[in-house]
C-alpha cells in the first residue's frame, strides 16, 4: 500500500509540470446557447469575438437554436451530462429552467457586474439575470401605409382588411398586444386573465391576413405581402436598416411591453469558471454598449453609455409608455388566455 502511494506521488510530481503546461496552453472551450439568425450574427460580432480577444485562454462555441423552448428541450435531454455552459433565453423559460434545477443561481460575489444592473433585471425566482431588454413595436410598410400609423387601432381600419400580420398566441408578441389592449381598456391584467384585451381584439381580428407570419413578421411586411403588424423592436430596427427604409417601426401611443432575455449558467456546466467570466463580460458596460449599438436591444447595465443614435431607437426614451408586465405570472395563466384567444379571437378572423 505504502509502495503504491509512493509510486503515485512520485509519478504525479514528475508529470504535473507537463500537465499544467499543457492545460495552460490548451484553451478552454465554453458552449454558449442562444438564438439563431440575426441575433447570432450580431451577438457574435459585438460580444463573443471581443470576449475571445480579451480572454485568449477561452474559446466560445456559439450553439444557435431558433427559440427558448427548443433550448430548454435540449437542456432537459442533457440533464445527466450537461454540454452547455451558458444559455440566453426568454425570462419565462428561464423560470422553467430554474424550477427544474437546470440553471444555477448567479452570484454577485463571483459576477460583480450583477450589482450594476437595473433593478428590473433581477428576478426573485430566476437563477439568471436580464442581459437584454426588447419591446413591442408597430411595424409597417412605408410605401403601403401613409400617413404613418400612431395607434394599435390603425390595424383595425377598413383599409387594412387582409393586410395585417400578427404573430398570434401562443407567441408572446400576440400576448403582449393583448396585454397592452387590456390595460388600455381598464382591465385588471393577470387577475382578469386579460379578458378586456381579448375583447379589444374584436375590431383588429377581421383584418388579420395571418397569425403565423413566416419566416418572421418582418419579411411579409418588407415584401408587401402584408402592410402593418407588430414585432420586436431590435429586429425591427435592423430590418428597417437592411430594407432601406421599406419597413419602419414605432412605439404606438397605447404603449409597449418589455420582453426580457436572461443569461443563465447551466447547473453542472463543464467549464463553470470560464462560463462565469463570459457572463461577467456579457453583463459588463462595454459589452452591453456594443450590443445595443449593434442591434438596438436596450441595455440592462445601468452604467452602459450608449450612443444617442442607438439609444433613441430603443424604448429607453419611452419608459413612460411601458406597460408593466409580470411575465412569470402571465406564464401561469397562459392556458386560460390561449383558450379565450381560440374561442373569441380566431373565429372573428375566418
Amino acid at each position: 500500500m505504502k509502495r503504491r502511494t509512493f509510486v503515485a506521488a512520485t509519478t504525479s510530481l514528475i508529470v504535473a509540470p507537463w500537465i499544467n503546461r499543457a492545460s495552460a496552453q490548451q484553451p478552454v472551450t465554453i458552449n454558449v446557447m442562444a438564438y439563431t439568425g440575426l441575433f447570432q450574427d450580431r451577438y457574435t460580432a459585438a460580444v463573443v469575438e471581443p470576449f475571445m480577444r480579451a480572454n485568449p485562454g477561452i474559446r466560445v462555441n456559439y450553439s444557435p437554436l431558433p427559440n427558448s423552448a427548443a433550448m430548454i428541450g435540449q437542456l432537459r435531454a442533457q440533464r445527466a451530462a450537461p454540454q452547455v455552459d451558458v444559455v440566453i433565453l426568454d425570462v419565462t423559460v428561464a423560470k422553467v429552467g430554474t424550477d427544474e434545477g437546470i440553471f444555477s443561481r448567479l452570484d454577485a460575489a463571483a459576477i460583480p457586474e450583477i450589482n450594476e444592473l437595473y433593478p428590473n433585471a433581477r428576478f426573485p425566482n430566476v437563477g439568471g439575470v436580464a442581459v437584454t431588454f426588447d419591446n413591442l413595436v408597430m411595424i409597417y410598410n412605408t410605401d403601403a401605409v401613409k400617413p404613418p400609423p400612431t395607434s394599435l387601432l390603425d390595424m383595425a381600419t377598413p383599409g387594412m382588411r387582409g393586410r395585417v400580420a400578427i404573430p398570434g398566441l401562443p407567441d408572446i408578441q400576440g400576448m403582449s398586444l393583448v396585454m397592452i389592449l387590456d390595460k388600455l381598456n381598464g382591465g385588471p391584467g393577470v387577475e382578469g386573465r386579460f379578458a378586456k384585451g381579448i375583447e379589444a381584439m374584436a375590431p383588429i381580428a377581421p383584418n388579420v391576413q395571418t397569425w403565423e407570419p413566416r419566416p418572421d413578421v418582418y419579411a411579409p411586411i418588407i415584401n408587401g405581402q402584408a402592410a402593418i403588424g407588430i414585432g420586436w423592436n431590435a429586429r425591427a430596427q435592423v430590418n428597417a436598416d437592411t430594407s432601406n427604409g421599406k419597413l419602419a417601426a414605432l412605439i404606438p401611443k397605447e404603449g409597449t411591453v418589455f420582453q426580457i432575455n436572461v443569461i443563465n449558467q447551466v447547473q453542472g456546466a463543464p467549464q463553470a469558471q470560464a462560463a462565469q467570466r463570459f457572463i461577467s463580460y456579457a453583463l459588463s458596460a462595454p459589452a452591453q454598449k456594443a450590443f445595443t449599438e449593434s442591434m438596438f436591444y436596450a441595455p440592462t447595465n445601468a452604467k452602459a453609455q450608449i450612443a444617442p443614435s442607438a439609444i433613441d431607437r430603443t424604448a429607453v426614451k419611452f419608459l413612460d409608455r411601458v406597460v408593466p408586465v409580470d411575465w412569470i405570472a402571465v406564464a401561469g395563466v397562459r392556458d386560460q388566455i390561449m383558450d379565450q384567444w381560440r374561442r373569441r379571437v380566431i373565429p372573428l378572423s375566418r
Partner: protein, 292 residues
Amino acid sequence: MSAAATAQGPAQSPRGTTFTAATLLVPILLINAIGFMLPVANLAVISVSEIRSSGAMTGGWSIAKWTTVATDPFYWELLANTVRTSLIVTILTLIVSYPIALCLHRMNGAWKSILLVLVISPLLLSSVVRTYGWIAILSDRGLVNSALAALGAQEPFRLMFNLTGVMIGLTEILMPYMILALLAGFGRLDPRVEEAAATLGAPPYRVFWRVVLPLSLPGVALGSLLTFVLAISSFITPKLLGGGRVFLLATEVYDQAIVTLDWPLAATLSIIVLVVFGLALAVYTRILRQIG
C-alpha cells in the same frame, strides 16, 4: 453418404425452422424496440408527468392532460378537424393522381422514364421550399390572383392562410406518394383483360369502371393509407399555409412542445395521433381483405 441422406440433409425439423425464423427476426425486433417501442413508451411516461402552470416538469405524476383532452370540446373538435381534413386531402390527392398514374402506367420508352422522374422530383425538395412556392402562387398578389384580376376579378380570392390553402398545399405535396403507390398497384392490370372486355363490346367507360378500377383497388387502398397517414402528421404545410387559423393535431403538438413547453399535453396528443394511425391501418387491412 447415400442419395437419400443427402436429400434429407438440408431439410430442417419444425423446431429448427422456428428457431431460424426467430433468429432472423431478432435484428428487426431490436431495431423496432429501440427505434419505436422505447420512444413511444417514453411518450406515454411524459404524458402522465406532472407540470406546473409555468411549464416546469416537477418529476411527479398526473393524468391531468388526459383528463383535459377527454373533457375539453376543443380537443374533440381538433381530432374531428384533423381526420376530416386528412380524409379530404386523401380523396383530392387520389382524384388528381389517379389519371397521371394510369397514364404513366400505359406509357412506354423514354417518355415514361422522363415523366416518372418529373413526378418523383418534388420529393427531392424540402416540403418547406415547396410550401413557400405555394405562398408565391396563392397570395393576394400571386400568380392565381393576378390572373383572376386580369380577367376582371375585383377582389383577390383568399386562397391561403386558411383551410383552402392547407388543402391545396398538402394535396400537391402528397401527390408523388400517391402516384408511386398507384403505380405499384397497377402491376395487376393485364392489358389483355381490357382488350377482352372491349372485344366483347364494352365501351371504354365500362371497361374502366368494371375492369381497370377494381383491379387497381389495392393500389388505391395503399396510396390512400400512405397519404392519410402523411396528411395527419403534416405540420409544416398547415403551419405555413394555415395562417394560424387551421388547428390540427400535428400543429397543436408542435405548439405545445415548442412554443408553450407543455410536453405532457404534446405527448398525450401524439399518442392520440398514433391511435388514429392504428385505426387507419386496421381499416386498410379490412379493405384489403374485402378486395382480396
